[in-house]
């Protein structure tokens, strides 16, 4: 193994590999199951390693890896044409998405927050899995990763306006699903707990 080669692996190992937890989290949202998520992480790191010389040191490595993951996922699973990235949901009017109604039938806001806080993680994940992936990923990158809109736009290959509207709509869709769950489960918080 030449000196230069081992240096490349060493720098990649030091800089990129510590981001595996973040990449795995995103991969799980893309694929919705651990086995495919692991494949996607491995494939993303492989592609990133091959392209490592092209990474501009000092720029955002995590965003660079997320962008490679987007393309890898599309190639591996979707075979989707990038032009089709706009989904039918993007074309709906706001009122058609639903109001993102409150998850309880009780009107007090503190009860609403408490009911939401009590939702099991598994239920939240299931709801996330049910919304279209372009919406799911924007919600994930914004809420869990805390990426700025401009970086999400870059990672997803869409304009910033699309990021904004998908975040709004994605969260509305999630709330609607969770409120359906809450009413099915007879989720109630004591009224008058304000």
């Amino acid at each position: 193994m030449s000196q230069e080669k081992s240096e490349k692996l060493r720098s990649f190992e030091q800089q990129a590999l510590p981001l595996m937890p973040q990449l795995y989290g995103a991969a799980l949202r893309w694929t919705r199951n651990p086995s495919d998520a692991e494949d996607l992480v491995q494939e993303t790191f492989s592609k990133a390693f091959v392209a490592w010389a092209k990474f501009e040191q000092g720029t955002n490595l995590k965003a660079w890896l997320f962008r490679i993951m987007t393309n890898t996922h599309i190639n591996l699973y979707n075979k989707r044409n990038k032009d089709q990235a706009k989904t039918a949901l993007d074309d709906l009017e706001d009122w058609q998405i639903g109001k993102g109604e409150s998850i309880t039938s009780i009107s007090t806001r503190s009860a609403e927050a408490e009911a939401m806080d009590n939702l099991p993680s598994g239920v939240i994940k299931e709801a996330l899995d049910q919304i279209p992936e372009e919406f799911r990923m924007v919600v994930y990158y914004a809420v869990v990763e805390g990426l700025p809109y401009a970086e999400i736009a870059d990672v997803m290959g869409t304009p910033v306006g699309t990021v904004m509207s998908r975040l709004h709509r994605g969260k509305k869709l999630l709330k609607t699903l969770l409120s359906d769950y809450a009413s099915q489960e007879g989720y109630r918080v004591e009224a008058g707990k304000e």
Binding site: M1, K5, S6, K8, L9, F12, E13, L17, M20, P21, Y24, G25, L28, R29, P34, E38, V41, Q42, F45, S46, F49, V50, R109, S110, E112, A113, M116, D117, L119, S121, G122, I124, K125, L128, V139, Y140, A142, V143, V144, G146, P148, Y149, M164, L167, H168, K171, L174, K175
Partner: protein, 80 residues
């Protein structure tokens, strides 16, 4: 400062919470929130919602995956 109604302030909740709101809108929203319980509670619910989503996405990769990836990188390097 531009006066915003509740509907407009509620519309801005995501931009506000994700630090995507800038002057002068930021001032207008902050001023409105200071004087409006209904909007403030609307924002609080969104904060809780974000926390709940963050909490639910807490999966960690296995050590085997880390080893698999390293193994793959070495293979790529050897064939370089």
């Amino acid at each position: 400062m531009k006066h915003l109604d509740c509907e407009e302030v509620k519309q801005s909740v995501h931009e506000y919470l994700h630090s995507e709101l800038h002057e002068p809108e930021l001032d207008s929203v902050t001023a409105h929130l200071a004087n409006c319980d209904s909007c403030e509670q609307h924002y609080d619910i969104e904060i809780v919602f974000n926390q709940v989503i963050q909490r639910s996405c807490d999966e960690a990769p296995t050590q085997e995956l880390a080893e698999r990836v390293m193994q793959r990188l070495r293979e790529i390097q050897d064939h370089d």
